[in-house]
């Protein structure tokens, strides 16, 4: 293999698995260290810069970082990254003075359709640069689905108010209760750019017999949740069936439990394991005495003269074809009818753009989705950008934020007269953490603690009030314990070939058998020559140039604990522990010397 180019910004970025997996590339280990030091405000600001909504995401994020966490490959469970983010939000001081100040307007106007996470992220990035941002939303308050669809017992209004407030206070104009009904009309208002962050607002229908007749007691999940959120709905029948296996279904069933549902069930077509809901959300539902029944396909709503009485299900089983694709086929068992008073349908969300006229210069594809460039987020109309669920269908908040940052950069470049396809490289800082012969500026002693559980409110109390937050969050002591579990993967092992005397000290001390000195070869051969097996080929091998004996140093990045023992035992300083900090390019933050093409 060729020597690894550690100067390429992506190489060490990939080693920080959590940051690499985060769509917004939040520098996770950096803020976890700050939490361990009690610097909650600093930890919050790092998050605020990357992901805009630390308090909201610290409660609701889908956590792509956690399955990626290296700790999960070393022991059973990853670091509770998401809930540590909440710790930063919970314990920070007043940070208002650290936020950007509303700046003098540059005369350029940007309109936002929808006031959810994508639009607010773009506005957050553009407002401090002097853009006049106007956010339109059909709802009276900002937040979009974060406010309307996520139940208050998971995400209190105070948190949404605070974090949307930080953005609106940057001089962003918010026009609540003002739904945009015509793109053409909006274009006519001669904004310099338009950002569409209107989400995926339509809940998918379940068109089976009885749907129309029983309509009074069959509700579309996200509409019902938002009706609950605004206080229009405050009760439900005693026996409730929730159809669907995603996170919306989990929110529906837990909400139903709080509005009078005593016998609430979730029923899914697939197997329990394949459900789309996050494992922890399933756990929380089960904890609230909500059974999840699987392999049942609804075939008809049963009603008594228009009064819903139950649902009939066909029993299915999973079969896999030659390509490993799953098919649900009837198991042959008799159909089953389950009685209920109300049904919540949470079987998916869809995009809907009835308000975008055909002659706006915005082309749609065959799935009725706008044609949007996945890097610049521009539509076929060069002044109109899309982001969040509106661009590529339903995903999570963190994706909306990441796309918002990229769209903001595009808008800023376009309105500065630059080529939006030229994307500035992120800024990378690499610095040695050596403080003494065996001292480092980070805590390299590896904690053996298992993941700490987040304390929950007592179930009896939690189920009484829909606005009582269930999770209490870590206290300072638990947060410190959990923070210590982080392996500091951003503190990189950096190898200097010219200093190595091949004494084997690093090989001997490495607790994870990561390091091998061997003859060079092709990657597949090298992976077989390693001291310990290499089960994850997606994890890079760090290969040195030729050493004095003609061999090379090969380090499998897979399960490195970043404990720094290789560097401590190295007599010549050929190994050093260097902190790698990558800052993604946001609008206005770049001083672009190098850039890469968006293609």
């Amino acid at each position: 293999m060729k020597p690894t180019d550690i100067a390429a910004p992506d190489y060490f970025h990939k080693v920080v698995d959590c940051q690499w997996a985060c769509p917004a590339h939040t520098p996770v280990p950096e803020y976890i260290r700050l939490i361990a030091q009690g610097r909650y405000s600093d930890a919050y600001m790092i998050n605020w810069k990357s992901n805009v909504f630390p308090g909201i995401l610290g409660r609701t994020c889908d956590r792509p970082c956690e399955p990626a966490c290296r700790r999960g490959r070393v022991e059973e469970t990853p670091v509770a990254i998401c809930r540590l983010k909440r710790v930063a939000a919970d314990f920070k001081d007043d940070i208002k003075h650290r936020l950007p100040k509303p700046s003098a307007k540059n005369g350029k106007r940007v309109a936002f359709v929808g006031g959810g996470p994508a639009s607010l992220t773009v506005a957050r990035d553009l407002a401090p640069l002097g853009y006049h941002c106007t956010v339109f939303d059909g709802d009276p308050e900002a937040g979009g689905m974060m406010r309307t669809q996520i139940p208050k017992f998971r995400l209190p209004n105070s948190v949404i108010d605070e974090e949307t407030g930080y953005i609106l206070n940057l001089g962003v104009e918010f026009k609540g209760g003002h739904r945009i009904e015509s793109m053409k009309a909006l274009l006519a208002e001669k904004y310099d750019a338009i950002f569409v962050g209107s989400g995926a607002p339509r809940g998918r229908e379940l068109d089976i017999p009885g749907r129309k007749e029983a309509a009074a007691h069959v509700h579309i999940g996200i509409d019902w949740l938002s009706s609950v959120s605004f206080g229009h709905t405050d009760k439900i029948g005693k026996r409730v069936i929730v159809l669907g296996g995603g996170n919306t279904a989990m929110d529906c069933c837990r909400t139903a439990r709080r509005l009078g549902g005593e016998d609430v069930k979730v029923i899914v077509r697939s197997g329990f394991e394949e459900m789309k809901a996050s494992p922890w959300e399933k756990e929380d539902a089960i904890h609230e005495d909500i059974p999840i029944l699987n392999f049942l396909v609804p075939v008809a709503f049963i009603h008594d003269n228009g009064k819903l009485t139950g649902i009939t299900f066909q029993k299915v089983k999973a079969e896999y074809d030659a390509k490993g694709r799953r098919n649900l086929v009837p198991s042959g068992e008799p159909d089953q009818t389950l009685e209920c008073d109300d049904v919540l349908v949470a079987v998916g969300q869809e995009n809907a753009f009835p308000w975008i006229e055909q002659d706006c210069g915005i082309e749609f594809d065959k799935w009725h989705m706008p044609k949007v460039d996945p890097k610049t987020f521009v539509s076929t109309n060069p002044k109109v950008f899309f982001g969040g669920d509106a661009a590529f269908g339903p995903k999570n908040i963190i994706w909306a934020v990441a796309q918002g940052h990229d769209a903001a950069l595009s808008i800023h470049k376009m309105l500065s007269g630059e080529d939006i396809t030229e994307r500035p490289l992120p800024e990378v800082h690499v610095s040695s953490q050596k403080m003494g012969i065996h001292e480092w500026s980070y805590d390299n002693d590896i904690s053996n603690d298992k993941r700490f559980k987040v304390p929950h409110r007592d179930k009896v109390i939690a189920l009484k009030d829909i606005r009582t937050e269930v999770e209490l969050g870590y206290d300072v002591k638990l947060a410190l314990g959990e923070a210590h579990r982080c392996l500091n993967c951003d503190v990189q092992t950096v190898f200097s070939t010219s200093l190595c005397i091949e004494c084997d000290a690093c090989v001997d001390i490495c607790p994870m058998d990561c390091i091998t000195f061997t003859e060079n070869g092709e990657e597949t051969d090298l992976r077989h020559l390693l001291k310990a097996p290499s089960p994850h080929p997606d994890q890079d091998l760090y290969v040195s140039s030729d050493l004095k004996t003609g061999r090379v140093m090969v380090k499998d990045e897979d399960v490195c604990l970043h404990c720094g023992l290789c560097a401590e035992r190295c007599p010549t300083g050929a190994w050093d522990m260097q902190k790698y900090l990558i800052e993604m390019t946001h609008a206005g933050s770049a001083c672009p010397t190098k850039s890469r093409s968006a293609a």
């Binding site: 490959r73 091949e502 004494c503 000290a505 607790p511 058998d513 004996t549 604990l561 023992l565 035992r569």
Partner: protein, 351 residues
């Protein structure tokens, strides 16, 4: 010296030996030696050899004297018996322990000061008596703990870190061991685990006095130009006569080597050593030939490594003395003191 303990986590894919242990289970405390010390590689090699042989740690007694090398038993086999003796007295303590209980595996760990200076006599007699042990000298040619004076194994003409030339003749412990009748003699290099690990494994399987001289560069005081025990010098002048594979168990040997290039030696414990010849003329069963070979190469400044001599049918001190097989601590009072009738019978036999 490292301030943190070595993390308990290990690679999830580590192989386990017959006892269900990984090589991590054979570790001891974290080393307090200087960073890069060759001794730590020897420690790692002992760990690897014991892991590969599936040795139960409680069946091993590790005994050492004083010095950098003699600290190392703390860093391997944390669940074994250990005795850190007076300077140079490891061989006597080991001999005594071995006579009291022959069931244990004896690992004597010593250095060039401990064995070639203060303990030279002790070294000589334990070898001469054929004590069943693996005697490892971690040989760096300097007194590291007292800041790098030449030791008795430093080659004449080699230079100290400050540039002083050594005018004394060197003791070659391998030559002495051969002369004193050691039945397993090897030399290796801490920077070559592929050679060292099987040598240690084979030495442990050998019944009789096994001696391994391991050249182990002292990073702090003896790894400079002019030293003959530096990484660079040893790598340049290393003349390996053979390579070893130790085959545990009684499976038939199926080694894929060209005919005539591999020699199989069956050890007393049933394990087999496959010796891959590098030097076609070298015969590891010829003590006299080995001595000459060694002397001739030493004169050329070459360091001969590999398994230099082995007598697979060797006997040990216990068989010479016809001692009782059971460990002394298991003997009951009636065995130890069989009564006046037995004494009378014994006395009568001497009349």
């Amino acid at each position: 010296m490292t301030y943190i303990a070595k993390p308990k986590f290990h690679h999830p894919g580590l192989k386990k030996n017959e006892l269900g242990y990984t090589h991590r289970d054979y570790e001891g405390k974290i080393s307090t030696l200087c960073a890069g010390c060759g001794h730590d590689s020897i420690t790692a090699s002992i760990i690897e050899a014991c892991y590969e042989l599936s040795i139960e740690p409680h069946r091993v007694a590790k005994i050492s004297g004083i010095g950098c090398s003699s600290k190392t038993p703390d860093y391997f086999l944390g669940n074994s018996h250990g005795f850190n003796s007076v300077h140079g007295r490891m061989p006597s303590v080991l001999t005594g322990a071995n006579l009291a209980n022959r069931d244990l595996i004896y690992l004597g760990v010593s250095g060039d000061g401990d064995s070639a200076s203060i303990g030279f006599g002790q070294f000589a007699h334990s070898i001469r008596r054929g004590v069943n042990m693996t005697y490892i000298v971690e040989n760096n040619g300097v007194y590291g703990l007292t800041k790098g004076q030449f030791s008795a194994t430093a080659d004449r003409g080699s230079k100290s870190k400050k540039g002083v030339t050594n005018t004394d003749n060197a003791i070659d412990l391998v030559a002495i061991a051969l002369q004193l009748g050691a039945t397993f003699v090897a030399r290796s290099f801490s920077g070559d685990k592929a050679q060292l690990v099987p040598l240690i494994a084979a030495a442990i399987g050998h019944k009789g006095a096994s001696f391994i001289d391991v050249i182990s560069p002292c990073i702090a005081f003896n790894n400079h130009a002019g030293s003959t025990k530096s990484f660079d010098y040893v790598r340049e002048h290393n003349d390996a006569v053979n390579r070893l594979d130790v085959l545990v168990g009684r499976d038939p040997i199926a080694v894929d080597y060209a005919p005539g290039t591999v020699q199989v030696v069956e050890q007393h414990d049933g394990s087999k050593i496959a010796l891959r010849k590098i030097d076609a003329d070298y015969d590891p069963h010829d003590r006299l030939g080995a001595q000459t070979f060694l002397a001739r190469h030493a004169a050329k400044g070459q360091i001969v490594t590999g398994l230099l001599y082995v007598d697979p049918d060797a006997e040990d001190l216990h068989s010479h003395l016809n001692t009782v097989e059971a460990p002394l601590n298991t003997l009951e009072a009636d065995t130890l003191c069989p009564g006046s009738a037995a004494l009378d019978k014994f006395n009568a036999s001497l009349r």
